[in-house]
């Protein structure tokens, strides 16, 4: 479903990614960890086609993410640091718009709002800036996309909302959705693969076991 080969990215004069190779099959889920949050975010934004790679290729669903950027975007949804402007809309209006733009029923928007714990009738401008992350996550959930790219998307959730979202994501994975998650701490039970990004390269990979046992023992979520 996703194949990344020799991916490099220069951010200013700094090399954020220096030849990343990664492949994820349909229904696969990968947790990306590493000491540099910015580098992780760069990888996630590249996957989401929001920034252009310096070199290397990303192929998603058989489509090149650089030459076919708009067709690739139909396959994926991104939730991460991104501004959502209120424009005098309510939460349900925004989410229903995001869902219907991707030909999803309005119920998908309502379910997503409930999962992340948003009041559907609240005006977006009444939601605190830090809580607007929930809105981007809800929009991604409501999109029905085949690939979900979640960059620090769990930061804004409280424990019950995390539980609900994780449960939903695990179910989505079983339906074939690809999930790529970048978090400071592993979200237990969500991903079957863990990769670490260090100095722009993927250095270690573990399958079906958390990267950091100590972190896992502080298990944030039980699914």
């Amino acid at each position: 479903m996703i194949t990344i080969s020799g991916l490099t990215k220069m951010v200013g004069h700094r090399t954020a990614l220096a030849g990343v190779d990664l492949s994820i099959d349909r229904g696969g889920s990968v947790a990306v960890s590493g000491p540099d949050r910015e580098d992780r975010s760069t990888l996630m934004r590249l996957l989401a086609t929001l920034v252009r790679p310096t070199s290397g290729t990303i192929v998603i669903g058989g489509l090149d993410a650089v030459t076919d950027v708009y067709r690739v975007r139909r396959l994926l949804a991104y939730a991460g640091p991104m501004r959502i402007l209120p424009n005098r809309l309510r939460v349900d209006e925004y989410l229903r718009f995001a869902a219907s733009a991707r030909h999803q029923p309005s119920t998908a928007a309502d379910i997503a709002a409930d999962l992340v714990g948003l009041n559907r009738n609240a005006p977006i401008e009444a939601i605190a800036d830090e809580a607007r992350g929930r809105l981007t996550l809800a929009a991604a959930i409501a999109s029905g996309a085949a690939v979900l790219v979640l960059d620090q998307a769990f930061d804004c959730l409280d424990a019950p909302a995390r539980d609900r979202v994780c449960e939903w994501l695990v179910a989505a994975r079983h339906r074939g959705t690809v999930i790529v998650v970048a978090e400071n701490e592993p979200v237990a039970g969500l991903c079957d693969r863990h990769v670490a990004l260090r100095e722009g390269r993927i250095l270690e990979t573990s399958v079906e076991e958390p990267l950091d046992q100590a972190a896992a023992s502080r298990e944030l979520v039980r699914v």
Partner: protein, 219 residues
Amino acid sequence: MRAVVLREALVAARRPALVGAAIVSAGLLALFPIAWGVRGIPTLGGMSLYDQQFRLEWILALMLLPWTAARVIATERGDDFVGLSAVTAIQPSRLLLARLLAATIALVAVVTGALPVVISAQQMSAVPASRLVADQLALLAFALPAAIITVWWMQLTTDRLLGWLGAAATTLIVVTLGRLSVATMNQAAIALAAISVCAAAILLARADVWWRYLSEPRA
């Protein structure tokens, strides 16, 4: 596409500026005969009340339409616009087209809001209805270039005031040039509408390239 047009229209309809502009426009036009009577301003001799009011309508359109468009359109631009494209998986050109449509519809609403007042002046001055129709169609056609110029300016700048001032100045220059090139204001409006459709087509053709990626720090 339908979802985006509905969203842009909803955003525009929710802005108080839309109703405010319609009220100001209709109100000032209604005040004109009240202030000057059925003969209009005496120093503009030879011109009927309708003619004088039509001039005022054009002046108001030149000032109010860019302001209204700047105030009512959705505020995403630059990286926010790229983000909106990513969230919806809709190309920026289509998002922009929806915004242009919504802005044009909003401006048409402002112009048509003043129609009862204009019809009253036409009746008082005994001007043929065909002329009223032609004049109002020209003003409605002017909503298109006003919307396109303003949307373009609002995409260029993050400052709404600067966007409005830029759009108002550009609109004024374009209308002045148009008026100098053809015989009547109505012809100028129709010509500008035709030219603006071409300009919009160029803008839309480039939008998918300009707003493809988020901005990045330069190396």
